[in-house]
Structures are given as C-alpha cells and as structure tokens.
C-alpha cells in the first residue's frame, strides 16, 4: 500500500491517452439495475473513448460485475441506455452485440480443443473454414499459445487458459472487450506479468476495453482511466494519477492508497488560499489555492503519507505542522511508514524513503518528531 500505489510506468496514462480515438465510443446513460427491488447499480453515466482501457474499481458487491453484464447484454438495465459506436444496444441479446467478454473463470468450452474454442465465435459468424484457420492461428500466435492448439482446456495451466480465453474473446474483433476480474484466478507473480502483457496485446489491436477489478494496483497498472464504484454508484472517474492525487471525496481518498484526513472548518476563505482550523492540529492548515466554499464550511484536508516530511527540529513555516510521538515504524524496503501520535490523539502516517532514513537523522520508537507539509500538498475535500 501507500506510495507503491502511485501510478507505475505502465499506468502513466498521459502519453498513451493521445493515441485514443473518438470520445463517447461507448456510452452508458443513467443506468440503473434492480434485482427484485434491490438496487445493484444506480445513476451510472460513463463515456469510454475508442481504444481506451477503462477500469471499474470497487469493493466486493458494489455492482461492477452487474454493470459489465449490462454492457454484455446478459442483464437488461431497469433504466438507462447503452450505446456502442453510436448504436443503441438496449434490447439486443448478447449474441447480436459487437461485444465480447473474457469471463472471470474463463468459461472455456471443456469439450473443445484450444483451437475450436477460439474458432467458436468465427464459426458462429459463418466465416469460411480457411479464413477461420488463419484467424485462429493469428490469435493463438498473438497470445503465444500456437503450440497448444490441439490441447483441451483441462490440460492447460491457469495462465495458459487465460491466454486462450483472451484469444477467444479477441478473435471476432469486438468493438468492446469486457474483462471480468481478468487476473482473479492467477497467483501474484504471474498476475503482474500478465497485466503488462494484456495491456500490450489490447493496445496493439487498438481494441476498446472495459475491465472490472477489485485490485487497485491492477486498475492503476492497466487502465487509462478508472471509475471508482461504491454501493452501485460511480464516485469518481479519472486517470490513475488524477484519482490518486486529486480524490474528489473522503471515500475515494481513503479507497485508493493511504491518506491522512484532517477534519475541520474553513477559517479564512480567500481568492488564492484558504486556511482551515482543525481540532486535530494545534497549527492552522494552510492551502495555497482557493476552493469553492465559505467560511465555517466543514471540510477535510487529505494529505498522502509520502507528502509529509519528518524532522527533528521544528520547521520554520507557521502552518501545516505538528509535533508528535513515533508509535510505530513499518519498514517496507524502499521506504518506511512512521505512525505518529499527535497530542490531540490523532494518528498521522508519514513516509520516509530509506535513502534519507540512513543518510541523515534517524528516528526510533517513542522519539518526538515534527511533521510538516507544503501548502500544495493537501487536497480539500468537501464531500
């Protein structure tokens, strides 16, 4: 957790974003899905760009799979509209949609060989046999499973099954590829390798992709943009770094990575700065930009642990600082996380890279330490 969750190299969406095509290629308009009165998904509005990898991220039971199934056509939404490439999908059965899905458990047909599995969709389209053969070979080559064409699914490892499932869902050249927990059945090591490979394949083909995951690291690594879901609703949509750096609510700030939340009231609301008085801290909180709010408004300031500096001496700045006692130190290799208890009882997490830890001042348990952060380091949350 913590700074590892920051966008990694594969998740640096900015350069790749330029390759993306039309906005609104896939559109979900005000989708609501009820199961006998129970609302599984509500008020969902999303637009996915052509060629984009879009992740639905949320805790178990938040409705991500339901949303994916609405896209695939296995569930009809109670309300709202699904559009792909300008075409309305509502009422269309799954077998008429230009959408293919890679199932969580892969759902490979056990009585068919790898080859036949991949060919299934093409045969359904009535493609001539010679062309099917060529396409199947191409797809199996793409996922490096050419040598296994004659095998049955039960003779393959989990990772190999996943490759076959991917080849099968890509064979028809869908306008939208759906991935339900694509790494769910793989062990951790294979997972991170397959994440990058999957992104590579999807980007090479330029296929638009919506994926579902409950693993934030996976969403951050693979997706251009992420939608955070909670209790059937979408809480925030953005690139991995937007979501991490600019959470729009206490929920998303807490959901992705670790965060320190200082609750308080706006004391001073100016054009280019605000100050917040928090009962957690003796010094006022100072934020170097204006917010749409008013004096006395209840807000929270979210500060990530890696933005907080630990020092022996009192920092010179008059605000954004506090003194406390180090209660715990968690050594995580590249950095350590310090748990600091403030006099108010508030516990604050602060990271220090281990380069610094050894180089200069070192702290141990029960040491007094000063915490401080810059006026651009926090995000003001109003909801």
């Amino acid at each position: 957790m913590s700074s590892e969750q920051q966008p990694s190299s594969a998740g640096s969406a900015a350069p790749r974003q330029e390759m993306l095509g039309a906005e609104n290629y896939v559109q979900l308009v005000d989708i609501r899905k009820e199961y006998d009165g129970f609302v599984a998904v509500d008020e969902v509005n999303l637009a996915i760009r052509k060629g984009e990898i879009f992740a639905l991220l949320g805790a178990s039971g938040c409705g991500k799979s339901t949303l994916l199934r609405v896209l695939a056509g296995f569930e009809q939404p109670t309300r709202g509209e699904v559009k792909v490439d300008g075409q309305r999908m509502n009422g269309q059965p799954p077998y008429r949609r230009p959408i293919n899905m890679m199932f969580q458990s892969y759902a490979l047909f056990p009585h068919m060989s790898v080859e036949q599995n991949v060919a299934f969709g093409l045969k359904q389209d009535g493609m001539p046999a010679a062309q099917i053969k060529q396409k199947v070979d191409e797809m199996l080559g793409l996922v490096q499973m050419g040598a296994y064409a004659k095998r049955r699914p039960h003779q393959l490892s989990g990772g190999q099954q996943q490759r076959v499932a991917l080849a099968r869902s890509l064979a028809k050249g869908p306008k939208l590829l759906l991935l339900d927990e694509p790494m769910g059945a793989l062990d951790k090591k294979l997972r991170s390798q397959m994440q990058l490979e999957l992104v590579n394949i999807i980007e090479r083909l330029g296929v638009t992709c919506a994926m579902v995951t409950h693993d934030q690291e996976e969403a951050m690594t693979m997706a251009h943009r992420i939608a955070i879901m909670d209790a059937g609703k979408i809480r925030q949509v953005g690139t991995p770094d937007e979501i991490y750096e600019q959470p729009n609510s206490r929920f998303t700030a807490g959901f992705i990575g670790q965060v320190n939340l200082f609750e308080g009231k706006i004391e001073d609301d100016e054009k280019d700065y605000i100050s917040i008085r928090s009962p957690d801290l003796p010094a006022p909180l100072y934020v170097g930009h204006g917010v749409t709010g008013y004096e006395g408004m209840e807000v929270a300031l979210a500060v990530r642990p890696e933005k907080i500096l630990i020092s022996k001496d009192e920092p010179e700045q008059p605000h954004n600082k506090a003194q406390g006692v180090i209660e715990e130190i968690a050594y995580l290799g590249s950095h350590s996380v310090y748990h600091v208890r403030l006099p108010s009882g508030k516990r604050v997490l602060a990271n220090m890279t281990n380069v610094r830890r050894w180089a200069s001042e070192s702290f141990t348990w029960n040491d007094q330490a000063w915490l401080s952060w810059g006026d651009q380091s926090g995000v003001v949350l109003t909801s």
Partner: protein, 305 residues
C-alpha cells in the same frame, strides 16, 4: 475359504482390499457365478429328470469326458421365433429408449434449471411412484387402458368416440408401460449431469454469437453426453429382457425375448434352451457396450497423450 481369503490378503493391501473386494465379491456371487451356471446349462441337453438337464462333465470308467452340446444355440438360430423375438425386443427397447430420452431430456433440463427448493420437489415426484410395487403400477395401467377403463370411459363420456378404442394388448400399451416405468432411470442420470453444467459456458457461447438453440446444440448437448449414455443404458438393457410389461399390457403378437424365456423355462421346462436364450441376450447387450466402452477409453487416452 480361509486359504482363499488369506491368499487374497497377501496379494492386496488391507483397506484397498475392502474397497475393491466388496463390489468384486458382489459381482462374483450375483453375476459371475449365476452366469457360469447358466452358461453350463446352455451347453447341456434337456432331460426329464431332476435337474432337467444332462451333466456336461462325466466320469466314465477311466475317462473324463466334457460334452458340450451346441444344439441349443443352433436351435435358436434355426427357429425363426427366437431371432424375431430378439430383433423385436431390441427394436422395442431402442424405440422406447429414444422416447424416454425425448421426454426425459426436457424434464431433466427443466428440473436442473429450477430453484433448489422446486428442484427437490420435482425430483421427489419423479422418484415417488417407484415407492409402489412395480407390478401394481403396471397393473394400474391395465385399469387405465382397458376397454372400459379410465381413458375409454372419459373419451366416450365427452362424446369423442362411440366405441371403446382397443389400447390394451397392443404394442402402444407396451410402449406406454415401458416409457412410464423406465422414465425415472433416464431422468435421474440426465439430471445429475445437467445440474452440473456451468451456466457461464452458455453465456460464453451467447457472447460469441450463438443463439440459445445453437448454444444448446453445441454446448449443452455434447457436455451432457455422459448423462445421455448412462440414462440410455439404464433403460435399454433392462427393457430388452423385460417380461412383466409385455406380459400384462401386450397382446399375443408382442414378441419379446423375456416372454420367450419365461415360456421355455416354466412352460416347456427346457432349461438348456432357456439358458441359451439368456446367454445370447446377454452377449447381444454386452458386446456392443464393451466395444463402445473400449472405443471411449481409447478416445480418452488419445486426448490425454
């Protein structure tokens, strides 16, 4: 006996011996031994004596003679009655197995798709009739099918027919009885198979462009093959030798090997011919099954290698 068990114990390790031994012993006592006896009798000649057949091994003076008489088998081939009885038994069995499959498959499919609570009720309803004696249930069909029985009275009551239809003692009645009696044996293995079918495989097929009926043909049907074979065997094999149903519901012209066997044994008291009839029937059933089985295990091996 102790020596035999001791010998077996040495060859086979303890708990494994139990697991393999019990069904093995069962098969030995109730299949292999009776089969051997029947086989032996089938090679002897009928006598008016007790037992009513000649011994096949004899100790005369100083010579041990084994006399195998193939007369009974030749007799079966020569007399048209037996050949046509075999053929018509097989024909009736194949047709009624097919009917059971046609009726049983949709029923098993529907039950497998129900909610667990309804599922149990329906399975119960399938099994419940077999809690009554088989004989009584078949006898009940006499009451339903006879000329002044339930069906005819009802049809005449609503004025659809003026004279009773002859249903009892026709081939139709035999089929009705067989299908009724053996349907559960088709439904249960099919149900056990279909209930395991992963619904996501069907979704995957829809997703790849298969309409529901295409998904059924390409996914459900091939994956339920084992259930179809098991159910068909459970119906086909006993129906070939069925005696009670053709006897009670069939007419004089319904020729089934079970009836012939009964006649040879109880009416003619010709044990050797009766035994030969039984052995040939078993061979007719076992040989195709064994060929099929051999074929299937070979296929499985080739898939695995």
């Amino acid at each position: 006996m102790n020596a035999v068990i001791g010998w077996l114990r040495q060859r086979l390790p303890g708990p494994r011996w139990l697991v393999i031994g019990v069904p093995f012993l069962w098969m030995l006592l109730f299949f292999a031994v009776p089969f051997a006896i029947a086989l032996k009798i089938s090679f002897s000649q009928a006598l008016i004596a007790m037992p009513p057949y000649s011994p096949i091994v004899e100790w005369n003076d100083t010579a041990l003679t084994l006399k195998l008489s193939f007369n009974n088998y030749l007799y079966l081939i020569r007399d048209n009655v037996y050949v046509s009885a075999y053929l018509s038994s097989l024909g009736i069995a194949v047709v009624s197995t097919a009917i059971c499959l046609l009726i049983g498959y949709p029923m098993a499919y529907a039950i497998a798709r129900m909610s667990p609570a309804n599922r149990n009720i329906c399975l119960m309803l399938v099994i419940l009739p077999s809690w009554t004696s088989f004989l009584i249930r078949i006898y009940a069909w006499v009451g339903i099918l006879k000329n002044n029985g339930l069906i005819n009275n009802m049809l005449m009551g609503i004025g659809l027919i003026d004279e009773p239809l002859q249903i009892l003692h026709t081939p139709l009645a035999v089929y009705v009885g067989i299908v009724y009696a053996y349907l559960p044996f088709m439904i249960l293995p099919l149900y056990a198979n279909l209930v395991k079918l992963d619904h996501r495989l069907l979704e995957a097929a829809y997703d790849l462009g298969a309409k529901p009926w295409q998904a059924f043909i390409k996914i459900t049907l091939p994956l339920s093959r084992a259930g179809i074979i098991a159910g068909s065997m459970l119906v086909l094999i006993p129906v070939v030798g069925e005696f009670v149903i053709p006897e009670m519901l069939g007419g004089p012209d319904t020729l089934m090997i079970g009836k012939v066997l009964w006649g040879e044994f109880f009416n003619n008291r010709d044990w050797p011919v009766a035994s030969a009839v039984a052995i040939v029937m078993l061979a007719l059933l076992l040989i195709p099954i064994m060929i099929f089985h051999h074929h299937q295990s070979k296929e499985l091996e080739s898939k695995l290698s």
